[in-house]
């Protein structure tokens, strides 16, 4: 693990907790899919927890993030509750988006999560725009733009990096390089160097072990602080791995990646296992305390899932609400 920054025990435990909450959320989401209780598909974040948590723990509530199709991790890490999240995944009225968004559009305005996005790269402009707002209105909020390695192929990124660099916007581009975009290895779809692409726009860039929550957090804290002072934008490439398929339905994936590779990442670099050992070794938590935390989170998740399963769907009359802010029913 990276050198521990200045945090106290409480901070570490919250980081751990958040990572386990993400993993637990995803396990439950997968179960909902497998038991045919979830509408549609979903993309799980398991394996990448240290990225979302390491970054979001360095942010304030008023800081913004934009998220992706693989967005549950970001959402939890930025402060969202299980209940509203599961309700959203099941299309229920009490979901964060009243069931209208679902997994790929989950947003949590109250915690500064401007939303998942089902268009790969689609939120790069939005994140940069949120940073623009901060600058224009003289706020010191920072925005983190999460996206995958695959999204670096989208031209939009280069357009907004150019403007962010010209205008010194407080935005951090965080590329979660999990080695794959869908069923294709990153090196088959990315020529040259991803880091060099950001650097070519004069953007300071860093690569970091995305399975080491302390390393991610320490780097992010530094960059966020500097971005607040107008020294942004920055780019971070976080080397990580997704444990499951591209989405819940991607079961047989040996044609594009080996079971050995998956096993290696899971057994030797799991961000939760690593951090847990560190916590215990440093005497921050005992094995028992950790187990108790895990169990509590499991129970929380179960309760939220049960709640969401029996929660009500939005009334059909909601179908034409929220098309416009100022028209109650757009089709009335």
């Amino acid at each position: 693990m990276a050198d521990a920054p200045k945090h106290n025990a409480e901070d570490y435990l919250r980081m751990y907790r958040q990572m386990v909450r993400i993993r637990t959320f995803e396990d439950n989401a997968n179960q909902l899919y497998l038991s045919a209780k979830m509408p549609g598909l979903t993309h799980m974040y398991s394996g990448e927890e240290a990225v979302a948590v390491g970054i979001c723990e360095a942010l304030r509530t008023t800081d913004k993030i934009t998220s992706t199709h693989r967005g549950h991790g970001h959402c939890v890490a930025k402060g969202a509750e299980f209940k509203e999240m599961f309700c959203e995944l099941l299309g229920k009225e009490e979901g964060y988006c009243r069931g209208k968004g679902g997994s790929m559009h989950i947003a949590d305005q109250s915690n500064g999560n401007l939303g998942a996005n089902a268009i790969v790269g689609g939120s790069m402009g939005i994140a940069t725009g949120a940073a623009f707002t901060a600058k224009l209105l003289g706020k010191d909020d920072v925005t983190v733009c999460f996206f995958g390695d695959g999204a670096t192929a989208q031209g939009l990124w280069y357009e907004v990096m150019n403007m962010a660099a010209l205008w010194k916007l407080p935005v951090i581009y965080a590329c979660e390089n999990n080695g794959y975009s869908e069923y294709t290895k990153t090196d088959e779809i990315a020529a040259g160097s991803i880091m060099a692409r950001a650097e070519a726009f004069g953007i300071e860039s860093h690569q970091v072990d995305g399975q080491d929550v302390l390393a991610v957090n320490a780097l992010t804290e530094k960059l966020v602080e500097r971005a607040r002072k107008g020294e942004g934008p920055f780019f971070m490439e976080l080397m990580t791995y997704r444990y499951h398929g591209h989405h819940v339905g991607d079961i047989n994936r040996e044609y594009y990646r080996s079971k050995d590779e998956e096993k290696d990442w899971k057994e030797n670099r799991d961000p939760i296992i690593r951090f847990r050992s560190w916590l215990v070794a440093e005497g921050i938590a005992s094995e028992e305390e950790v187990e108790a935390m895990n169990a509590e989170i499991k129970d929380d998740a179960k309760a939220a899932v049960d709640y969401a399963l029996s929660a009500k769907y939005p009334d059909q009359s909601e179908v034409d609400m929220h098309v416009f802010t100022d028209v109650t029913h757009a089709l009335a």
Binding site: G99, G115, G125, A130, L137, M163
Partner: protein, 331 residues
């Protein structure tokens, strides 16, 4: 009343709203010192500075995306898209992002931005700088679409658009920037979804949008000389569309021509004609007639370009035939 150009009217609307609300800013290519190639924004950067009149690189998807994010977080961007033809480049940010955010978030996020762009052919600018693409935008739920037909309309609609909490797209007619019209000194707004009856008539209704309002007005004048009294209506916004006013007129005159500068097929004329046919069918003496731009890319050659767009003469001829009761297509 004083007369000012459409260009000045837009400029005034922006200046007034920027004075009123510090969160309003303009973003686009050459909007600052150059004041855009059409010079519509001249003087604004001098008053509001480069932090609020923001020159961008030539990156339409990028600055449109930035505007969406800025709007979601507490500002009111006015995006300047130099030519309406470039809207193809920003469709994802406009239609997948801006248009859907409020709905997808269950009402929690909103995107109060204005996209200012233009439409109109016959400027010898060829196929990629002459399109009238408002129908594309109108098809996508979540976007409002305004089509000012004069300096007066341009000012009032722009001010309303900036205050609207939803994404609004305004298409100005680029041939009309130097056209003058009476515009009051006092502040006014034009509500969305209220058509304007420019001329009352009893024999036929001419519904024109944007550039085609003038065409309908000229046609109506010519028709009056022949004793045919045409009612001329400008819907002003096509989303929302003031169906009530259009239907009332259709029921009164029982003959309607819809004139729009977008391509005729799968466009605005079909929508308006269908709604009238559906809801005033038994009052109509003839089918609603549509006149859009030809379904061809806009040709460069002046010899060809001018015939692709509806003209007053064309409207007059069709109106005559409708009024005379000729069955247009031997239908």
């Amino acid at each position: 009343m004083r007369e000012i150009t459409l260009s000045q009217a837009v400029n005034e609307a922006l200046a007034e709203e920027m004075r009123r609300d510090e969160t309003v800013f303009i973003i686009g290519e050459d909007v600052a010192e150059a004041g855009t190639p059409f010079k519509v924004l001249s003087g604004l950067v001098e008053e509001f500075g480069t932090s609020r009149v923001v020159d961008t690189p030539i990156a339409e998807p990028g600055f449109m995306g930035i505007a969406v994010g800025a709007a979601m977080t507490g500002t009111r961007p006015v995006v300047d898209l130099m030519f309406g033809d470039f809207i193809y480049l920003i469709m994802d940010q406009l239609c997948n992002q801006a248009a859907k955010t409020h709905y997808m978030s269950g009402g929690k996020l909103n995107v109060p931005l204005v996209l200012r762009t233009n439409l109109g052919a016959t400027r010898r600018s060829a196929a990629q700088h002459s399109q009238s693409l408002h129908a594309l935008v109108a098809h996508i739920p979540g976007l409002k679409v305004a089509l000012p037909s004069s300096a007066y309309e341009a000012k009032g609609l722009m001010k309303t658009a900036i205050r609207d909490d939803n994404p609004v797209v305004i298409f100005e007619d680029k041939l009309m920037y130097q056209d003058k019209a009476p515009v009051p000194e006092e502040e006014y707004l034009i509500p969305f979804g209220e058509a304007k009856v420019l001329r009352e008539g009893s024999d036929i209704t001419l519904i024109g949008t944007s550039s085609m309002v003038q065409v309908c007005q000229k046609a109506a004048e010519a028709l009056e000389a022949e004793g045919i009294f045409a009612e001329v209506i400008d819907p002003r916004t096509i989303v929302p569309l003031d169906e009530a006013t259009l239907l009332a007129s259709a029921k009164k005159t029982s003959r309607v021509i819809v004139v729009d500068e977008g391509h005729q097929s799968f466009g605005v004329t079909g929508e308006i004609a269908s709604r009238i046919n559906e809801k005033a069918f038994y009052h109509l003496d003839a089918p609603v007639l549509r006149m859009g731009a030809m379904d061809v890319p806009v040709p460069f050659s002046p010899a060809l370009e001018d015939i692709t767009v509806p003209t007053p003469e064309g409207v007059v001829e069709n109106a005559r035939r409708l009024v005379r009761g000729e069955m247009i297509h031997a239908a």
